[in-house]
């Protein structure tokens, strides 16, 4: 952490420690390097059009540091919005910078890779959808994209997607191979770009929460909670305690069912159909229970601005504890099968490895990061209510291969089960929600939640009338996609589905 910088703490209303301050354009590079030297990471980079507020543009950067989350705002010129490239310090900034140009026209000066990222020519050159004066939408033909080619004797390319062969989100993968061995993988994403950030503009917070929950369907509770924290912090109105605890209950169920599903698919991808069927059987029991307790299998729209929309009835609480104990037993049994199965271990071990040093350099985050020694979990280091009373045990592995990611998931399943029991036991009484006030003036906030995939951050700015003016949801997949490209190197093409599933990154969450 660079010293002598005046940090202003954001008023905290239920979130972890977030420090915000203005960072001059000329100090951006030195600051980023300071964070990097301290061992911190860039978590998110986005922009906003502030010209209607009597200013230019703003570049927002959010860093993970030993102090918590540092949110720096850099004011840029309204006519020529330029800022210095920081991808040479944090490689994970590359795609975020390119997307920020495509959507807003902010230019990363000196950046190596200036190819477009989210604009597939669906809107015109020189048009920027997130500018307030964007009005036209001229659909144009899909544009060519210059992939980086590997040349040499025996090298050939395998293009895959955007429509994939399985039930999976769309994206394009370009493998350069010799025989079956992968020399290079280049991803092109952005296919599910559906204008989410523009869609937020003008919504009221209740509608915004529903949209935030649909940024990435499997991370519904994480995004909705982060969005609500952003709005509640902007309005300086925390959700009541019972709501905070119920939100954690929803988030841990989300973590549990996603890990169960992926553990099943990881068995399936090494031809152990038994694993798929057993884990999905257990997952289905939870989904049906959620439907019964909270009226939705995936807990959609249970978290709302100001609190929660569903309560945990006493009978459901009892049933939840019973199901938790049963699940703990089942998962322990099933993991024993995975650990003892020679064929499974042969495919899992040493496959798709991300060494800890590479993970640190590239900012690998979330569960994949923890499988490569990146010991960050906001619930542990920077716990906000109710995690400050739960003492979450972090699961960390060193090997960085598929086997390590499987072990992290299994460990997190058991920890989530423990947390669910603790939440049920300590759930405070009180109201489920409280009404949010009208802002009266423009205000903004940031929400930060450790979702099942990794840290989810949502920025929200409200106009005077309480409607959303600018919202940016950030999915941890942004940081992790580039590592998937590197983890496959030297592996064989048929192992790609397995490696890919062990990360299970979001397309929709990053394409927006």
């Amino acid at each position: 952490m660079p010293r002598h910088i005046d940090l202003i703490s954001l008023p905290q209303h239920g979130g972890g420690p977030i420090w915000q301050f203005s960072l001059g354009r000329e100090r951006l590079t030195a600051f980023a390097r300071g964070i990097q030297e301290e061992g911190g990471q860039l978590l998110a980079l986005w922009g906003s059009d502030d010209r209607h507020l009597g200013s230019g543009f703003t570049l927002h950067t959010a860093y993970l540091s030993s102090l918590g989350l540092i949110w720096a705002k850099t004011r840029l010129d309204g006519e020529k919005p330029l800022y210095p490239d920081i991808a040479h310090i944090f490689p994970q900034a590359d795609r975020m910078q390119r997307a920020t140009f495509d959507l807003l026209g902010l230019v990363a000066d000196g950046a190596q890779d200036t190819r477009k990222w989210l604009r597939h020519a669906a809107w015109g050159e020189g048009e920027f959808p997130l500018r307030k004066d964007f009005t036209t939408a001229h659909p144009e033909a899909i544009d060519a994209y210059p992939f980086i080619r590997v040349e040499g004797q025996g090298v050939h390319e395998i293009p895959v997607g955007p429509i994939h062969a399985g039930v999976i989100e769309p994206g394009h993968f370009r493998f350069s191979v010799i025989g079956d061995r992968v020399l290079r993988l280049e991803e092109r994403l952005g296919y599910t770009h559906k204008g989410v950030e523009k869609r937020f503009e003008g919504m009221d917070p209740a509608a915004g929460a529903r949209l935030a929950g649909r940024v990435s369907g499997d991370s519904h509770s994480a995004f909705t909670w982060a969005f609500c924290l952003a709005v509640e912090s902007a309005l300086q109105t925390p959700a009541p305690p019972r709501a905070q605890w119920l939100r954690a209950l929803f988030l841990e169920i989300e973590r549990l069912v996603n890990h169960l599903g992926d553990l099943g698919y990881l068995g399936n991808d090494v031809a152990l159909g038994f694993g798929f069927n057993q884990f999905w059987r257990v997952k289905e029991i939870w989904l049906r229970a959620c439907k019964e307790w909270f009226s939705h299998r995936y807990l959609f729209d249970c978290i709302v601005p100001g609190g929660v929309a569903r309560d945990l009835a006493p009978a459901a609480a009892k049933e939840l504890v019973r199901l938790g104990a049963e699940t703990r037993h089942e998962v322990t049994e099933l993991m024993e099968v995975y650990e003892e199965h020679a064929g499974v271990q042969d495919r899992f071990t040493g496959t798709g490895t991300v060494a800890p040093a590479l993970a640190a350099r590239m900012g690998l985050t979330g569960l994949a990061g923890r499988a490569s020694s990146q010991a960050w979990d906001a619930r542990v280091q920077f716990p906000h209510p109710p995690y400050d009373q739960l003492e979450v045990q972090m699961v960390v592995e060193r090997a960085g291969d598929v086997a390590a990611r499987v072990r992290v998931r299994a460990g997190e399943v058991l920890e989530s089960l423990r947390l669910l029991e603790a939440i049920v036991e300590n759930l405070p009484e009180g109201p489920l929600a409280q009404p949010l006030p009208q802002p009266g003036s423009v205000c903004e906030g940031l929400g930060w939640i450790e979702g099942w995939r990794g840290p989810v951050i949502v920025y929200a700015r409200l106009a005077e009338d309480g409607r959303l003016d600018r919202v940016h949801p950030h999915d941890p997949s942004w940081q992790n996609w580039p590592l998937l490209e590197l983890s496959i190197l030297g592996n064989i093409v048929p192992d790609f589905p397995l490696i890919n599933k062990s990360f299970n990154l979001s397309y929709s969450g990053a394409d927006l």
């Binding site: 597939h120 659909p139 769309p170 599910t192 369907g217 999905w280």
Partner: protein, 182 residues
Amino acid sequence: MASHLILAKLLRTGIVSEPAPPADPGLLTDPARLNEAILRVFGRAVVVRHIDAGSCNGCELEIHALNGPHYNIEGVGVKFAASPRHADVLLVTGPVSAHLETALRRTHEATPDPKWVVAVGDCAASGGIFGESYASRGRVENVIPVDVVVPGCPPEPGRILAGILAAVSATPRNHSSPQGVR
């Protein structure tokens, strides 16, 4: 060895598969009559191709569940294929993003007749919360013809299966013929 653990677990678990729901003609976009002959031909061997046209991945979670033991979709004769060229039914999710419009059209063209299109989820049905914008074409029907609409956010697996069965039990639509049998 893991085999005795697997066998013991299988014996303890037993069979959890449930009977398939009946085909729901209420999901059809056209009030087409149930055609028993078609059901006899295809009812036990329907090949489905899934296309994510821009969804949030919520509907996919429930389509995955269909492969799980409770729904046992292959047990009722429905299976997923990797290529549209092998498919009878296209299962389309999401509002259609502008970036996937061409890919969706091409996949539809690559599917041989007779074929059915099932739009899964509120976004596929109406554009949902994403609506129509510079980046979203909205509902699937805006891009390719749709036979069955399964609403829900996301629809539950049983409803998706009922929609697939409703499609193949209706009179097929010959999409490539100019007159289009409906």
